[in-house]
Amino acid sequence: MLLEVRNLRTQFFTPEGVVRAVDGVSFDIQEGETVALVGESGCGKSVSALSIMGLIPNPPGRIVEGEIQFRGRDLRVLDAEGMRKIRGKEIAMIFQEPMTSLNPVLTIGRQLTEALEMHLQMKPQEAGNRAMEFLKLVGIPDPRRRLSQYPHQFSGGMRQRVMIAMALCCEPRLILADEPTTALDVTIQAQILELLKDTCRRLHVAIIIITHNLGVVARYADRVNVMYAGKIVETGSSRGIYQSPRHPYTLGLLHSVPRLDQPRKAKLDPIEGQPPDLADLPAGCSFQPRCKFAVVKCNQETPSLCEVGENHWSACWVWERVGGGSA
């Protein structure tokens, strides 16, 4: 087991009240596998990743409960210095915006070698060579010249390649990729995801891919965690979840997107209503106000994850009535 997250609760204390961004989330990551965290904006998927990295801004945010076991160590009890040794070395992160996540006043070479010198105690010369090697690995032509250039001289897709090189160069065991291709065009998205998957497979790195794009998940993830309002509402293998979704939210998401491989539907089937305010969650199941399957019990008791199939868990009182057949 590479990473074990148990009952994680991260909250933000704001003047409007306590925002329960992550509200009791548990999941595991095995060595070398790709796991997706799927959900819409504000469902807590990015905050989960930032919690693992120890990057929750405090104040206003704080992890109030839970364990984050990474290779047998609890990251929550590590001090700042200990965390710094893991961050960027054993767990790396790729952010959504390649435009804002690189430092505009440092050369690409400096940004790549910084981590190598700090984490692997490399000499500048040695670090420079390794940086060049990784730029080549992620498909950047003419890496020697590129090392001395600044981020603004790179296109969006190239910057995201640099981010991937940066994430990989200290040979991490785990990469957290937070919407790594959302800011990119479709053809570039395909290039970058293919690259990320190939190199991680080759170097046996596990990936947590955070996204709202159900197609990306289907193409790249082995397992899926679907999040809604700070909780994981369904978890299982990609095939299991896409073929027989057992939570009304997952089912709703899959039905609301038009699919290129199927005949055009006369009407799309949206999920009605709006996601809830995390500072003021409804009683019982958070999805119940938007749910077509809701029964009386749903607004009284909060369902927890229960096993609905082989390696397939859903947090729904009426999961037996939901989906089942192919979506």
């Binding site: 819409e40 904006s41 296109s155 897709g157 190239m158 065009d185 479709v186 053809t187 570039i188 998205q189 395909a190 290039q191 293919e194 709202h212 794009n213 159900l214 197609g215 990306v216 998940v217 289907a218 193409r219 990609s238 095939r239 896409y242 073929q243 709703g252 998401l253 899959l254 609301s256 997107v257 038009p258 699919r259 290129l260 491989d261 199927q262 005949p263 055009r264 539907k265 006369a266 009407k267 799309l268 089937d269 949206p270 999920i271 009605e272 709006q274 996601p275 979506a327």
Partner: protein, 352 residues
């Protein structure tokens, strides 16, 4: 397979009959907009003071298409391909460098500003970002009511209030929202306000510039359904600009694919998705991941090499040839024309 929902059965066999239908699909009583050889070149100057022109960015470079009343033309392409500039040139927000934009028989590029002001209400736009396209200091009522009161479509305050209430309920918002400010609304609700504003002038033609790409998936479907319902009810015509091909297929009757300022393929939606002829269209379609791991496992996506070249310095010959997986020698020398290679199916590629 007669009698079923025929036109959109995804089966390949049906497409032979399809060339006529995408155009006749909706009530086609004539062309509402025709764009002929539209060009928009932005100049690049050397310094702030001397303003010496050192180059031209050919954002839109010879685009032609027409839209029939009541139909939706999808305009797809990646960032920087000129799709938004095309929309702005139709609206005359950017004055085109050359070419014609004929709306209801009048060339908008040639008429005087006064006359243009009279036509503007009939062409409206819905913007991508519902967070920056609504004035944060105006209430929803003021935003939706501004057009009608400026153009004196209402007699008095009471009329205006009624009209705003009617517009808000048309787009599925509670009329009491009129007194709220944009920051109090969610993304989906704001986009509904954007739609209400576009409808407020009784426009017949609406340019939707990426209207759903900033929204969450579950909300996207709500807005798309709303746009379709309104089209049916009010006989609206849409130019739907987007980069998401699955959304474009859903909403469009015909689709034009743009690359580096040019249209590379234009045809009916079913034909385009069943029988894409241009290599770029094929690559775009195959790059879209399908939300089904079983289907995905069987697909082998075409991964394009390289990136979109700068429109400042477009490649010679066919602009797509440096990334094209079918490129031949002549592609770097000769620029292809957009030609009708099959009935109602236009492609700009030398292979045809």
């Amino acid at each position: 397979m007669p009698g079923n929902r025929g036109e959109d059965s995804g089966k390949k066999g049906l497409r032979l009959n399809s060339p006529m239908q995408p155009i006749a699909a909706k009530n086609s009583n004539g062309t509402i907009l025709e764009v002929r050889n539209l060009k928009k070149h932005f100049s690049l100057t050397s310094s702030m003071i001397l303003q010496k022109v050192v180059g031209w960015i050919k954002a839109v470079d010879g685009v032609s298409f027409s839209i029939r009343r009541g139909e939706t033309l999808g305009l797809v392409g990646e960032s920087g391909c000129g799709k938004t500039t095309t929309g702005r040139c139709i609206l005359q927000l950017d004055r085109p460098t050359s070419g014609e934009v004929i709306f209801k028989g009048k060339d908008l590029t040639r008429i005087a500003d006064v006359e243009l002001r009279g036509i503007r209400p009939k062409i409206q736009v819905i913007f991508q970002d519902p967070f920056s396209s609504l004035n944060p200091r105006m209430t929803i009522g003021q935003i939706v009511g501004e057009g009608p009161s400026v153009f004196k479509l209402v007699a008095n305050r009471k009329d205006l209030k009624e009209r705003v209430a009617h517009l808000l309920s048309t787009v599925g918002l509670n009329p009491t929202m009129a007194s709220r400010y944009p920051h109090e609304l969610s993304g989906g609700q704001r986009q509904r306000v954007g739609v209400a504003r576009a409808l407020s002038m009784e426009a017949s033609f609406i340019i939707c510039d990426e209207p759903v790409s900033a929204l969450d998936v579950s909300i996207q479907a709500q807005i798309i359904n709303l746009l379709e319902d309104l089209q049916e009810k009010l006989n609206l015509t849409y130019l739907f600009i987007a980069h998401d091909l699955s959304v474009v297929r859903h909403i469009s009757d015909r689709v034009a694919v743009m690359y580096l300022g040019k249209i590379v393929e234009i045809t009916g939606r079913q034909e385009l998705y069943d029988n894409p002829l241009h290599p770029y269209t094929q690559a775009l379609l195959s790059a879209v991941p399908i939300p089904d791991p079983v289907v995905e496992a069987r697909r082998a996506p075409i991964i394009l090499k390289g990136e979109i070249p700068s429109p400042l310095n477009p490649p010679p010959g066919c602009v797509f040839h440096p990334r094209c997986f079918e490129a031949q020698k002549e592609c770097s020398q000769e620029a292809p024309e957009l030609r009708e290679v099959q009935p109602n199916h236009w492609v700009s590629c030398l292979r045809f």
